[in-house]
């Protein structure tokens, strides 16, 4: 693997928080406010890293392990995702499955960490997290399967590299459907509106945010950073699929992809400022809808 292969991972590590900044700025603008600086997420993470920590007497090492494992799995996942046509650091047939299941690892530990506090709020959040994730997983995997079928590869790098203009030309509806499904997964996995509302923390209707109520200091920093990474990675999948720009020049491609990411962040901001979050009982329908989209995509490829 060449040095270039490290680029996607490094970009992810470096720029992930920026997306959050862009999104919140977009929302602020839409709301007619000035809003926080673009780099605010970086500041938050750094600030939190400098703080001490308060642990509930109920908690055990699991609580402390949660953020660590979560972040580690995200970083590893970052090594699997290509960016702008540049293959990922680690690419092998089947890495797509590893990627999906790494998300599961992160979830597993976040959830048990939340349960470790014995707080009913965090239990509630945990329960919802696993529920919706279980529903999101088929959508994600089937969507990826559709891409794999379209590109005849089982490795993310080649799959996304394969999603080029020509492919779009011939099977636009498939990729479009998959992209749509992935958008839903993207929103759900990252706990964004309309599935979840990252802005509030103590509503009984919260999912992701309420799980980390008891975390503070570096732990919270890890969680925050991990969340932005997740946002970036799923975004990268989406962009890699939806922005099939492949000039010969790697730098241009990367630049284009980055632009695409920013655009995605802005889009996300727009969505969040336009939509309200769904009632929880309706969220499953959204997930099932996404799964249906993936299945449709597959049927299109199978016929």
């Amino acid at each position: 693997m060449s040095a270039a292969a490290a680029v996607p991972a490094l970009l992810a590590l470096a720029l992930a928080p920026l997306l959050l900044g862009v999104t919140s700025r977009t929302k602020a603008v839409m709301a007619g406010r000035v809003g926080r600086p673009l780099l605010q997420p970086y500041f938050d993470v750094l600030k939190l890293m400098r703080k001490g920590a308060v642990y509930s007497r109920t908690t055990t090492w699991v609580f402390r392990a949660g953020p660590v494992v979560g972040l580690a799995s995200m970083i590893l996942a970052a090594a699997l995702v290509p960016f702008g046509g540049v293959p990922a650091l680690v690419a092998f047939p089947g890495d797509v499955l590893l990627f999906v299941y790494l998300l599961a690892v992160g979830r597993f530990f976040t959830v048990v960490a939340a349960l470790d506090t014995g707080s009913s709020f965090e239990g509630m959040g945990a329960s919802r997290e696993v529920t919706f994730a279980a529903l999101a997983e088929p959508a994600l995997l089937l969507g990826l399967a559709a891409v794999a079928r379209g590109t005849g590869s089982l490795s993310l790098s080649t799959m996304l590299a394969g999603a080029t203009g020509p492919v779009w030309a011939e099977s636009a509806p498939v990729l479009a459907l998959v992209a749509a499904a992935l958008v839903v997964v993207f929103l759900a996995e990252n706990g964004r509106i309309p599935v979840d509302d990252p802005a509030t923390h103590l509503e009984l209707t919260m999912i992701h945010e309420v799980m980390v109520l008891d975390h503070g200091g570096p732990d919270l920093a890890f969680i925050l950073y991990g969340a932005t990474l997740k946002l970036w990675l799923l975004g990268a999948l989406l962009v890699g699929l939806a922005v099939p720009i492949h000039t010969g020049n790697a730098w241009l491609d990367v630049a284009a992809a980055t632009a695409g990411m920013v655009a995605l962040a802005v889009l996300l901001g727009l969505v969040e400022s336009q939509m309200a979050r769904l009632r929880l009982v309706h969220v499953p329908n959204l997930m099932v809808g996404a799964t249906v989209l993936s299945v449709l995509a597959l049927l299109l490829t199978v016929r």
């Binding site: 089947g94 590893l98 597993f108 506090t117 329960s127 995997l141 103590l202 929880l280 199978v302």
Partner: protein, 659 residues
């Protein structure tokens, strides 16, 4: 072969010895458990040798029963199943030594030791038998031994019911097998396996096998005995039953497939359908349970479903003549059999430790055990992560193989296996997500938070005899995950035998898969590195900063109490509500009322839908229709003589009328 027979002999002999030494608990335990462990170790030798490429030893002796012959053979397939059987049983026996002793319900554990050894011996015999009569005898012995183990605490009404349900289910299942084997050996005057050739009506025979063996394996809807029996048994027995005994059903199915030759196209579909239903319903029902051991039992149904998915894909592959699909499907399925033995055994042993320490199986009465029994907790966590199929543990590897097979079929355009493959992918994805939900619930509610009852608060880690097996199994889960590139090589001979593909084709697939797994291991190393890194970072950040302890953030409630915690039922509520139509969960709610509500209660219960809506009515119906004929025995002697007269008339008219 000698070693195997020695092992079986040791097991049986030790069992009888334990019976004879009934009087003294110490001697019973020593003889029973000692012989069990020794026998298992002896039995492992030939299994290991064969898997490492040794020749398959076999022994054929005359046996003076109709159609019978004492014909046993350890080929690769047998060896693959012998491995978990002996391995897990040895550990369970060791565990049982302490478990039963402390379980002290006044009765010496002699009978338990005896039947445990008998169970292990018969399981081994089942997978090596090469004669239908021998197989069936071993098969029924296995059922009987496990039945007596299940009804160990038979003074409990529920345990008795569980026992009967089990005995009846397994006996009725065997009826199908009788028909299967006789039809296989049709016309022949011997029922040796090597006489069974590609039979006519393979499809019918296949269905017989699916029903007959599926009853033992716990395929939905033949699984009803499973969630009853496994909780009722002592935990080390549950571990063996759930970990390996039910997989003998899968063994039988695979073995039968090797006899049948070319199967109809729908055969693979049937298995996949079974796998989807078993997997999805199994895990959903598992999530809905409050009883820890019931939860684990249902999760066994799920895992059997996963195996069925793999085998089904394999069959489709064989019929479509696609080597990758066949190899990866069967490979994944069989590997998952071994993995399931490891983590399900581990989880049941852990559950046993919990039940013994806290005196209850009710998840909602537990909590905060990780502080009180840290070692058990750690082992259980590993098991939970493994069974959820999280990467770098053994559970993931098996599922990965099946996924790869399915994806491969899905991506190769125009392959016959596309649609089944996609079904499998969707099913596995859903099960994976639900499994995470299920076992975060199990681990989280039991081991984390605050204890919800006095018993739970007083729980302590068990002694070494129960610790060691759990730790070994936990280590094994890790090892299989990490050594997978090597281990998968061992599957090659088995796969050749099962798929009937040429060795080099299988070998090629296996090496391709090993390459992927190699990457996986590399990632595992990277993952460990990253974890260490982040952990180190966290430590260095926290060093010198204030780290204080407080109560859990309680949103300003005056008095947070353990009873305010999220219980298992509430954790599962969104899913149970979502899948209400499938599960038929019953809820009883008496909400708080008035300004000063005195008492409020909420209880939810999820009974087995098939037991409730299929079997209960069916059996009741049969009973009713039978009792409709009771008037025959009317009591009047005149009537009885009338029967005789009518019979005479009937036969005369029938037989002489035509003559």
């Amino acid at each position: 072969m000698a070693a195997l027979l020695l092992g079986i002999g040791l097991l049986v002999g030790g069992g009888f010895a334990a019976l004879l030494a009934r009087r003294s608990v110490r001697w019973t335990t020593f003889l029973g458990v000692g012989s069990a462990i020794a026998g298992c170790l002896a039995g492992l030798i030939p299994a290991g040798r064969v898997l490492l490429g040794g020749a398959a030893p076999s022994l054929r002796m005359a046996w003076d029963v109709p159609y019978g012959a004492f014909f046993v053979q350890v080929d690769a397939l047998s060896a693959l199943f012998l491995l978990p059987i002996f391995g897990l049983s040895a550990l369970a026996a060791l565990y049982g030594a302490e478990y039963m002793a402390a379980h002290g319900d006044g009765r010496a554990p002699a009978t338990t030791c005896f039947f445990f050894n008998l169970l292990v011996a018969s399981m081994a015999l089942v997978v090596v038998a090469r004669n239908a009569v021998l197989f069936l005898v071993a098969w029924e012995l296995m059922a009987l031994a496990s039945f007596f183990l299940v009804t160990h605490e038979d003074d409990d009404e529920r345990v008795r019911d569980a026992g009967w349900t089990y005995l009846i289910a397994t006996h009725l299942g065997t009826a199908w097998l009788l028909a299967l084997f006789i039809l296989l050996g049709r016309g022949a005057d011997s029922l040796d396996f090597d006489r069974f050739g590609p039979a006519s009506g393979a499809g019918l025979l296949f269905l017989l096998a699916v029903v007959g063996f599926g009853t033992k394996a716990g395929f939905v809807p033949f699984h009803v005995w499973l969630p009853e029996a496994h909780p009722a048994a002592p935990s080390h027995v549950s571990a063996v039953m759930s970990g390996v005994m039910i997989t003998t059903g899968l063994y039988g199915l695979v073995r039968t497939v090797t006899f049948l030759g070319p199967l109809p196209v729908w055969a693979g579909w049937v298995l996949i359908a079974v796998g989807v239903t078993s997997g999805a319903l199994g895990v959903l029902l598992a999530i809905a349970q409050h009883d820890l051991k019931r939860l684990l039992a249902y999760s066994s149904v799920e895992n059997v479903g996963i195996v069925a998915l793999g085998l089904g894909l394999g069959l489709v592959g064989v019929q479509a003549g696609s080597a990758p699909l066949a190899v990866l499907g069967f490979g994944g399925g069989l590997l998952h059999v071994v993995n399931h033995a490891l983590f399900k055994g581990l989880l049941f042993l852990g559950a046993g430790a919990v039940v013994r320490a806290a005196g209850t199986r009710d998840i909602d009465a537990l909590g905060g055990l990780l502080k009180r029994m840290p070692r058990t907790g750690l082992a259980f966590l590993v098991g939970a992560a493994a069974i959820s199929g999280l990467p770098f543990l053994n559970g993931f590897v098996g599922e990965l193989l099946i996924y790869m097979g399915a994806l491969g079929a899905a991506t190769s355009p125009g392959s016959a296996g596309t649609v089944p493959a996609l079904v499998v992918i969707a099913a596995l994805a859903l099960m994976g997500g639900l499994a995470v939900a299920c076992f975060t619930k199990a681990f989280g509610v039991i081991f984390l938070g605050e204890p919800r009852s006095e018993h739970a608060a007083r729980a302590r880690d068990p002694g070494l005899a129960m610790q060691i097996p759990m730790q070994i199994l936990a280590a094994a889960c890790l090892l299989v995950g990490v050594c997978s590139p090597v281990l998968i090589g061992l599957l090659a001979p088995v796969l050749v035998q099962v798929t009937g593909l040429p060795i080099d084709a299988v070998q090629a697939e296996v090496t391709r898969m090993a390459h992927t797994l190699g990457w996986l291991v590399a990632c595992a190393a990277g993952f460990l590195g990253l974890v260490a890194l982040t952990a180190g970072l966290r430590r260095s950040l926290l060093s010198g900063r204030s780290v204080t302890a407080a109560v859990t953030w309680d949103c300003g409630y005056a008095q947070p109490s353990p009873r305010m915690q999220y219980t298992g039922s509430s954790f599962a509520q969104p899913l149970t509500e979502l899948f209400e139509p499938l599960l038929g969960t019953r809820r009883r709610l008496s909400p708080p009322e008035g300004f000063f509500p005195s008492a409020a209660a909420f209880a939810s219960e999820t009974a087995d839908p098939f037991r409730e809506h299929l079997y209960r009515p069916a059996f009741a119906g049969i009973e009713r229709s039978l009792s409709a004929f009771r008037w025959l025995q009317h009591g009047r002697v005149q009537l009885y003589v009338l029967y005789i007269a009518l019979t005479l008339l009937a036969v005369l008219l029938w037989r002489l009328g035509e003559a």
